[in-house]
């Protein structure tokens, strides 16, 4: 982000948004939790609230909608905020980095920063569910293309990947592995089958599910080994940053070595 001239400030004393789990227990409380973050953002100043996690993105946007649409929730949230000397008017926009990079920074500016084009790298663009459904306004629910555009600007080859918005299994990979891991397995297998070198994702839980369970997936079905990284890590590579700076060494399944990239002295 700094590389592209975007200034980020950590939200003062942010709290957990509650994710899908809190919504299952009590929606009013979940909205209050999320509203605290929105109110702190509003107090900080006229700026957007940026969240790289799909669940945070969804819960914060859902709270905005709920506060707007349902008087009962709105009253509860306002009363709770008042108890903490906070207030929320609905001004703060909740945005995902993909949205900001595509619409505010723009493809042309991204292209200009590329010093090491990802030539020859075949990427399967995987968006997952909660960024594009149901509240996103910056891309389509079933066939989003913003990340495709960014990856193409980096010089990568986009693999046609029709499963791009299918669910990864979320926390079911841990709680009901038979069901959850199969969903991750299908995504990995399809990317391998279509000849991708790497899956590019925009969500931390998708990244974790597609990266961390390869041994269990192999035990249950068959190996479907392919690396899964954040799209921003691929951007960093193309911008000339070191893999270690980008945290690429923290992957369970490391990215494949590519002759074209190695020539430009990248070490994974």
């Amino acid at each position: 982000m700094r590389h592209l001239g975007i200034e980020l400030t950590e939200l003062d004393d942010w709290n957990c948004c509650g994710a899908t789990a809190y919504m299952s227990v009590d929606e009013q409380e979940a909205c209050i939790l999320a509203a605290r973050n929105l109110a702190i953002a509003e107090k900080t100043g006229p700026q957007d609230l940026l969240t790289p996690c799909s669940a945070c993105y969804l819960v914060l946007n859902k709270t905005k909608h709920n506060v707007e649409d349902f008087p009962k929730i709105r009253e509860g949230v306002q009363r709770a905020l008042k108890a903490a000397n906070l207030s929320y008017s609905g001004k703060t926009a909740v945005r995902h980095p993909l949205d900001v990079l595509f619409h505010d920074v723009g493809i042309e500016a991204i292209k200009r920063k590329v010093v090491r084009p990802l030539k020859g790298l075949k990427v399967a663009p995987y968006y997952g569910c909660q960024v594009v459904r149901p509240y996103a306004t910056f891309d389509e629910a079933w066939n989003p293309t913003t990340m495709d555009g960014i990856l193409a600007a980096l010089g990568a080859e986009i693999v046609h990947y029709p499963l791009k918005t299918k669910c990864c299994g979320a926390s079911l990979t841990g709680t009901v592995p038979e069901a959850g891991l199969r969903m991750s397995y299908i995504l990995l297998k399809e990317a391998v089958r279509r000849g991708a070198d790497v899956i590019s994702t925009i969500c931390p839980l998708c990244q974790f599910n597609l990266d961390a369970y390869h041994d269990q997936i192999m035990k249950r079905w068959e190996p479907a080994r392919i690396a899964t990284v954040y799209f921003t890590q691929l951007m960093g590579l193309a911008f000339g940053l070191e893999p270690k700076q980008l945290g690429l060494h923290r992957n369970f399944v490391p990215m494949k070595r590519l002759p074209e990239l190695e020539k430009s002295e990248i070490r994974f």
């Binding site: 809190y22 569910c129 459904r133 149901p134 841990g174 969903m183 369970y213």
Partner: protein
């Protein structure tokens, strides 16, 4: 002794007496669930849901059961817990029914009435997650997973040792407990509803 040899049977057709009058209306009164009456039972939700194959009632059936007041059937079904909130059904529904939100309303009700299957890890995860957010303001994944294993299935810890090891070697294993600084602020906010039942207490 005769009984031991008797064939076990279960009534599979529902009776009118199995219904709990008013249940459907209660669910439909939850924020976001009011479109349910317009369901045309087309089954688009069941077709687009990636988890229907594991469910005892498909999402379409759950819609019909809620509307017809079959409270015990839906609250005890595994459907509501298998829903991973991917919102495919909500986006696809031709009647704009927010099916994911109805699933949430059913989960909340099942937790409130404690009718979910014992040792089922999903509702336990939801409860432990909520408890941690309530008391610390943030989630420490490692501690949460430990709680979950202790309460749901401690044997799973042993089978997941490789995952834990992988997290340690990749430097992704977090053990330092996370918490917010102004917990009192959060407590004051939640106090306006927890005991006041929506009437305000702070």
């Amino acid at each position: 002794m005769v009984e031991a040899h008797m064939m076990k049977i279960k009534r599979t057709i529902k009776y009118d007496a199995d219904r709990v009058g008013g249940f459907g209306r209660e669910i439909m009164s939850v924020a976001g669930c009011d479109q349910l009456p317009s369901c045309i039972q087309c089954g688009t939700c069941s077709g687009t849901c990636p988890l229907t194959i594991y469910m005892d009632f498909s999402p379409r059936q759950v819609m019909a059961l809620v509307r017809a007041d079959f409270k015990n059937e839906v609250l005890r079904s595994n459907t509501i817990w298998l829903c991973a909130s991917c919102y495919s059904c909500t986006v696809e529904c031709p009647r704009q029914i927010r099916i994911t939100d109805i699933m949430y309303a059913l989960k909340q009700r099942a937790i409130k009435e404690q009718v979910y299957p014992k040792h089922m890890p999903i509702p336990i995860l939801a409860k432990e997650f909520a408890k941690m957010v309530l008391s610390k303001g943030r989630i420490t994944e490692t501690l949460l997973v430990m709680q979950l294993f202790l309460r749901a299935n401690w044997r799973a810890v042993l089978s997941s040792w490789r995952l834990g090891l992988g997290l340690i070697t990749t430097g992704r294993f977090v053990i330092k407990p996370e918490r917010i600084e102004r917990q009192a602020e959060l407590d004051a906010m939640l106090a306006t509803i927890t005991n006041g039942n929506g009437k305000g207490k702070a």
